[in-house]
Symmetry: none
Subunit: 301 residues, 2 copies
DNA sequence: CGCGGTAATTGTCTAGGACAAATTAAACAG
DNA sequence: CTGTTTAATTTGTCCTAGACAATTACCGCG
């Protein structure tokens, strides 16, 4: 039984490292060293793909590829993002409750999960629910997914159920045309929508008029949409998986497309380490959302 | 004001055409012909990006790039698939009402649209609403999108609002564990979810237990999910844009992965012209869904 | 300790060549 | 005329290898 190998396109998909980068690393660092098939094309064995994925993840955390590739496999431990912030008693209790929720997902008991989470929403109210339940829960799911304790389909189930819950909660809020008008979407290649929904929930609670366009809008289309809907604000979401490098240029480009009177907000874990600029407001936490909204209102009152 | 230009990476993002393809087309067909910046790198003007996106759209519909690039800009009209089935008086009236709904989208009046569509749902009841409103409406939006009368963002808005509506409607239905248990999802590369939601609505109305996993599940994961959830039926959706010839093989593969006791259903406009086989039940219309469900129940009673 | 300049690091772009997979066109048999 | 096999074409992806800009690290000096 010969273990399956991956061609370069598959590795790009699986690791988020572009074909160019994969070839360049091979040239420069001597890793990875894929085999070749009969056509002379690269065949990456699974273990190298795993290592690449690990390296990519550490890079997203701020490490440099040269160093990472040099180090042997004890990075595994060196990298493990030891999140050991001292947490309060209350936070700890909250975390245990969240773990219980995730346990239901892992038991594939969708009904019980839905009931529990609904209850939590009713108890906390939408704002705290988004900030204290959905946000950390989603982060946790991402972590579990990374270290392999969550199957793909379990993550899908969580995402799908949570999307429903948030959309449903949003739809019960009073609508009506109130300022500002916010257009919510994401750029192509970025298909994570949960962050957008969380922001939408918070904004809608504050009485903003939200126009949800889903994910993956080409930049020129975002410009057209902003004009057609006369949006005051265009809010984009970038997940942690989104290539950091591209974000700056992307915002700059969009800034040129949008009218000067339209504000541009960029949020999500992807923008956490992006350099500030005049092109867009960077929103790194959910709290920032409300603060930025307040600032906007102050400026336009 | 110098209009903004796009580098090759940005064009890849916005059009979905890979850098390799963009360069190859330039070499082979002489289009696009981007300018060059001081570093000799390609700068695509906005109008060429638009044309590329249009070409990509038509390619997804089955046209070939060589032809498309050769044709001047009258492809727009020339290639819109004209359909002209004779229709009954009643259907005609219904269609006019649907057109009114779509007009609201085109006026970018999300609020008015939502109100109108909600009203329609209340009037028709979920089943007829899905069959007589959402299904034809979605088809119509697809047609408008194909011939360019709908902007991308207008289509996105329609899709997003409709998804919300359906999910909300589904969530109000009584849940509880009732047979059969249906796992709903789609294969990788297939990201259209509206069809799945329509089917879910119909199945949930009939008292089936639906497990929605969203779109783009790898085949092996579908197998794992089916086992973990002990699904009686796995229902897949293929949109019209999905490459027809892959479907047969996919179903065959999945059939081998799934336990023999698990039924496999494949639906959506993509399967309309797929050859029947023993691998899966093909569901070509929404009515078929209910018929196939009834047949399943008969067989398992 | 901060600041500016230099050096190393790193990603992306460019160019053309090659080839396999998919599709169409052509040839042929029934 | 129709179906089927074979040849030609279209088309996308991969390959190598070089160049360069942008970022980051380093180091000496005030």
């Amino acid at each position: 039984m010969n273990t399956p190998t991956f061609n370069i396109a598959a590795v790009e998909r699986d690791t988020g490292l572009s074909k160019d980068v994969l070839r360049m690393w091979e040239r420069r660092y001597g890793f990875p060293v894929p085999g070749r098939d009969t056509n002379g094309e690269r065949c990456y064995p699974a273990d190298q793909v795993d290592r690449l994925r690990l390296i990519k993840r550490l890079m997203d955390l701020g490490h440099r590829p040269g160093k990472l590739i040099a180090t042997p496999q004890e990075e595994l431990t060196a990298l493990s993002p030891r999140r050991s912030k001292p947490e309060t008693q209350e936070a700890s209790e909250n975390r245990d409750e969240l773990e219980e929720l995730l346990a239901l997902i892992k038991q594939h008991d969708a009904a019980a999960y839905q009931q529990a989470i609904q209850q939590r929403l009713a108890r906390q109210g939408l704002q705290r629910f988004v900030q204290d339940t959905i946000a950390p829960l989603t982060r946790r799911v991402g972590e579990y997914w990374e270290d392999g304790s969550f199957e793909v389909f379990e993550e899908h189930l969580y995402t799908e159920l949570t999307k429903r819950l948030l959309r449903q909660a949003i739809s019960t809020l009073p609508g009506g045309p109130r300022a500002p008008r916010v257009l919510l979407t994401s750029v192509p290649e970025e298909l994570h929508v949960l962050g957008l929904l969380m922001v939408e929930a918070l904004l809608a609670l504050e009485g903003a008029e939200c126009i949800p366009l889903g994910t993956q809008m080409p930049l020129l289309e975002i410009g057209r949409a902003a004009q057609a809907h006369q949006a005051d604000i265009v809010a984009l979401s970038f997940s942690g998986a989104f290539p950091q490098r591209q974000i700056g240029g992307l915002l700059q480009q969009l800034r040129m497309i949008l009218p000067a009177t339209t504000a541009l907000w960029a949020g999500g874990s992807g923008v956490a380490r992006v350099a500030r600029s005049d092109d867009a407001e960077l929103i790194t936490t959910l709290d920032d959302t409300l603060a930025t909204l307040a600032a906007w209102r102050l400026q336009h009152s």
